[in-house]
């Protein structure tokens, strides 16, 4: 095996000779974990801490690289104690999400502190983020919690475990590169453009020709496909015509009249009390390119009526900074500013191909890998998270959706440290084999070399032709190769 320095350059090797205890691979990233063991009698506790986060490459007897990742924990056997020094619980960039103190019986507002950074630790190991969640804090207390956590956790964490018998070995617990995507959080927001603070104000819709249409502009930050728009809407009287929303292009700061898609909602499903959220679902979804301003134009399909009309919830506090609100006044045949000015209360839900989302999330959450290779999957989902999630968790959520044909997605960090996402092959297309001695063979019946694994392959058992192929999702090597479907 070979250890590189943290900048991926060749370096002198530790003098301890390590042997491989176990290696594991999974279709959620390829190389997952490896445990290396060396004789630790000559190693002082702390002596190998410099290997933490160093890349490690494991080769088979023919010098083919079979496992690659980085050292995440060093364990020193010191007689009846085992001292572990680990990056797993380390965090050198910390934020606290908390609920504000609130009167009894009321929910406190959800807030978050800014990030606190240990730049020295980050320079050594890379950025490792942590978001702590706490209830019932004020801002100052939350920042105190954050700063204390940073002081405690910004260095590799040391634990001591007492053992029943002597152990003088040194063990390196290594993680695959996919694990490094747990180090940063992502929070995609492209899937939702919304203005949903408390309602402050009401705007009449279709009462007369001075409020024939209402419009709110939005500008997506990524390519999106608008699937649903929700607004807070009620009816007054008994309108028989539908409420209507169009997505219109922009023309010199006003709706152009050119509709990219529209949805009608029957008055029968619109309440006459309160201001519930009413859904307008677009089918097909309306595709909007990144940075292109469009207008959500709300109207009615019939003529104005002072008896039967609609009322729309708005926000006169003007909390929304991403667009403007306009009213079409047919009397002056122009879009005009409302007085007082406001923003529409709305929620736009957009979908995006999961392959595109993976690229975006990877770009936000990666720091050690050398790129991502992923095709569009044909599966659309909403690229939005209400609270941050690690890049690793978010990618796995997307991988779990598979492709449009229903097949799985397989992710492997290849030995060039690129995250390569490919679709599962069909059973019977290129099946691998395993014989009665546990030896694996590729689809052309060539025996696989030591340490090469049939990960993400359909595997048939030689001699049991009636047995269906098993899809290998995990592989473990502990002297022998074991595949799990």
């Amino acid at each position: 095996m070979v250890f590189l320095d943290r900048d991926f350059a060749r370096t002198s090797q530790p003098e301890v000779e390590f042997t491989v205890e176990t290696m594991r691979w999974t279709i959620e990233g390829g190389a997952e974990t490896a445990v290396l063991r060396g004789d630790g009698r000559r190693v002082a506790v702390g002596e190998l801490d410099g290997l933490l986060r160093c890349p490690v490459e494991i080769y088979n007897g023919l010098d083919e690289m079979v496992w690659w990742g980085f050292v995440s924990t060093v364990q020193y056997g010191a007689g009846k104690r085992r001292v572990s020094v680990s990056l797993e619980e380390m965090a050198n960039r910390i934020m606290v999400r908390y609920t504000m103190l609130a009167p009894a019986g009321q929910m406190g507002e959800i807030c978050q502190t800014g990030w606190a950074d240990d730049l020295v630790s980050q320079a050594v190991y890379g950025v490792k983020e942590l978001i702590l969640e706490r209830d019932g804090l004020d801002e100052q207390s939350a920042e105190q919690v954050r700063d204390m956590a940073l002081a405690e956790r910004s260095k590799p964490q040391v634990t001591v475990k007492h053992l029943g018998e002597d152990d003088f070995g040194v063990r390196l617990v290594c993680a695959g590169w996919m694990d490094s995507l747990k180090w940063k959080y992502v929070q995609p927001t492209a899937g939702m453009i919304a203005n949903s603070p408390s309602q402050v104000g009401v705007q009449w819709l279709g009462y007369n020709y001075a409020d024939l249409w209402l419009a709110q502009s939005i500008t997506p930050m990524e390519d999106i496909a608008i699937q649903m728009v929700e607004v807070r809407l009620r009816k007054e009287g008994t309108p028989t015509d539908s409420a209507r929303i169009q997505v219109q292009t922009d023309n010199a700061g006003k709706p152009s009249g050119t509709s990219l898609g529209q949805v009608l909602v029957s008055p029968s499903i619109i309440d006459s009390e309160g201001y519930p959220w009413v859904k307008f679902e677009f089918d097909p979804a309306v595709e909007i390119a990144q940075g292109v301003k469009v207008w959500l134009v709300l109207g009615r399909s019939g003529s104005p009526s002072t008896v039967n009309f609609y009322l729309v919830g708005v926000d006169e506090s003007m909390a929304f900074a991403g667009g403007e609100f306009r009213v079409y006044n047919h009397v002056v045949t122009n879009w005009v500013k409302r007085s007082p000015d406001c923003d529409l209360l709305f929620r736009v839900t957009a979908t995006q191909d999961t392959g595109v989302q993976m690229e975006t999330a990877f770009a936000d959450g990666n720091q050690f890998l050398d790129g991502v290779v992923v095709e569009e999957t044909g599966v659309e989902s909403v690229p939005y998270l209400a609270r941050p999630m690690t890049c690793y968790d978010y990618l796995n959520r997307l991988l779990g959706m598979g492709i449009i044909s229903g097949r799985k997605l397989i992710a492997e960090v290849d030995w060039e440290r690129r995250l390569v996402v490919r679709e599962q092959e069909e059973e019977g297309q290129n099946d691998f084999y395993v014989d009665e001695d546990g030896l694996f063979y590729d689809h052309l019946n060539n025996r696989m070399e030591e340490g090469m694994v049939p990960l993400g392959r359909w595997v048939r058992v030689k001699g049991l032709v009636e047995m269906p192929a098993n899809f290998v999702e995990k592989v473990e090597w502990d002297g022998q190769l074991k595949a799990q479907s």
Binding site: E15, R42, Y59, G61, L62, D63, N446, R447, E449
Partner: protein, 446 residues
């Protein structure tokens, strides 16, 4: 008469060893009963029954000397401090010492030792765990190239193999007396003033009297397609230029392997290396090899990157002949295909020089930390399991060895191929080294 001693090879004059039996037995030791134990693994546990006789001072001196040797042996095993210690045996009158590395040792008293001690004698048991083999002192191994035979002073090699140039050397079985695979020490000296020696791959093909060495180098101009371009900087005086524009994978060229060559490999693994006559500057190029027999692909290798600016491409393991056969009738013809992947439809040109099938009967790859300048050396010593550089006769850590050491199988000739990469990641055909070799006879049965 059996001669038995323990000591280390760095202080190797005979007087530095502690004799346990035979003419050099230490004063006070009157008997040492040693029987080889049977073990199937790489290590064996044994006991040497020692009988001491003499004054208490004489016996104490023996015990102190033994305990000191044991401490030194164990300290090296556990802490890598000092030098490895060995059990040295000469079982006949040949004058040839054999050494077995002591991995762990301890000294125990025999029964009633206090009573005997009081009477001027003492029985002890020396327990040792050692490697399950014995090695001789180092022997110079004459090596040969196509134009020079039995060279012991440094055989010159270059980085390609064609008429008048060797990239490998032979070690013949007649020059090697061993019963188990013999550990080699190779001393590689960079003789090139223009190229530092960064990475070095050494692979051997070892064959007995019933077989011969197969063809290991396939010149690009002997493959299909492309245009031959003469060049004094290319192996065999020319390279093959391939130009294509199709997107995705292209079956660029293939070499037909002769039936006799296929048969000679007997299912062995090789690590193919493709040398480029000129580096390319294309991003995203990938390559893979396949074996085609009777128009059917019977083996497909993994894709590997052809990195822009690198002078060579290393492929994964290929077994020849590919596929599962019995091997009694010889294999059907197989063609070795090179596939290249690129994105886009723009035209790409690659200048291929030669494909070297690096044999793997023994195989080491040395990744350069400090590229060796002219006259600096790389030592690959299988007996000690170390690989290190030498500059002006001082040792330094210059390379990371993925596998340490070459062994020569008994009753086999060995052909050792080298592939050199300079500090610019180029594999220039003119790059040169000289090689010296030594071996140690290895046996298990005394």
């Amino acid at each position: 008469m059996i001669n038995l001693a323990i000591g280390d090879l760095y202080h190797n004059p005979d007087y530095a060893w502690m004799g346990l039996k035979g003419s050099s037995a230490m004063s006070g030791i009157v008997g040492a009963n040693y029987e080889s134990a049977i073990a199937f693994g790489n290590e064996v546990d044994e006991e040497i029954l020692l009988t001491l006789k003499g004054t208490h001072a004489q016996m104490d001196t023996v015990i102190q000397a033994l305990e000191q040797k044991i401490m030194l042996a164990n300290r090296y095993s556990e802490d890598r401090i000092g030098y490895p210690h060995y059990l040295r045996v000469m079982a006949d009158q040949s004058g040839v010492f054999l050494y077995s590395r002591i991995l762990n040792a301890s000294l125990m008293p025999s029964k009633k030792s206090i009573t005997y001690y009081a009477g001027g004698s003492l029985g002890m048991v020396l327990k040792i765990r050692r490697k399950n083999c014995f090695d001789s002192d180092e022997v110079v191994l004459p090596i040969s190239g196509s134009g020079m035979g039995d060279v012991t002073t440094g055989l010159p090699l270059v980085n390609h193999d064609d008429s008048g140039h060797d990239h490998g050397f032979y070690a013949y079985q007649d020059d090697v007396e061993t019963e188990l695979p013999a550990p080699l020490r190779l001393e590689i000296t960079n003789t090139d003033a223009s190229n530092t020696l960064k990475d070095l791959i050494i692979g051997s093909f070892q064959y007995d009297v019933l077989s011969t060495k197969p063809k290991l180098v396939y010149e690009a101009e002997t493959g299909s397609g492309g245009t031959t371009v003469s060049s004094s900087d290319a192996s065999n005086g020319s390279y093959q230029r391939h130009t294509w524009s199709a997107e995705g994978w292209t079956d660029l060229t293939y070499w037909s392997m002769s039936l006799s060559d296929l048969a000679k490999y007997q299912g062995r693994a090789v690590r193919p290396v493709l040398r480029l006559a000129n580096v390319h500057a294309y991003d995203g190029l990938m390559m893979k090899l396949s074996m085609v027999s009777n128009g059917v692909t019977i083996w497909m290798g993994n894709e590997v990157p052809a990195v822009a600016g690198d002078g060579f491409v290393e492929f994964g393991v290929l077994r020849i002949p590919a596929g599962e056969t019995l091997g009694t009738n010889g294999p059907y013809t197989q063609d070795l295909h090179l596939h290249v992947y690129k994105e886009g439809t723009s035209s790409v040109t690659l200048d291929l020089d030669d494909l070297i099938l690096m044999p793997t009967d023994s195989y080491t790859k040395h990744l350069g930390l400090v590229p060796l300048s002219q006259n600096n050396k790389l030592i690959d010593d299988a007996f000690y399991g170390v690989s290190y550089g030498e500059q002006a006769d001082y040792e330094m850590s210059t390379h990371i060895a993925l596998n340490k050491g070459h062994f020569l199988m008994p009753k086999h000739n060995g052909y050792f191929v080298v592939f050199m990469v300079n500090g610019s990641d180029m594999a220039r055909i003119s790059q040169s080294i000289s090689v010296k070799a030594w071996y140690r006879q290895r046996r298990r049965i005394l």
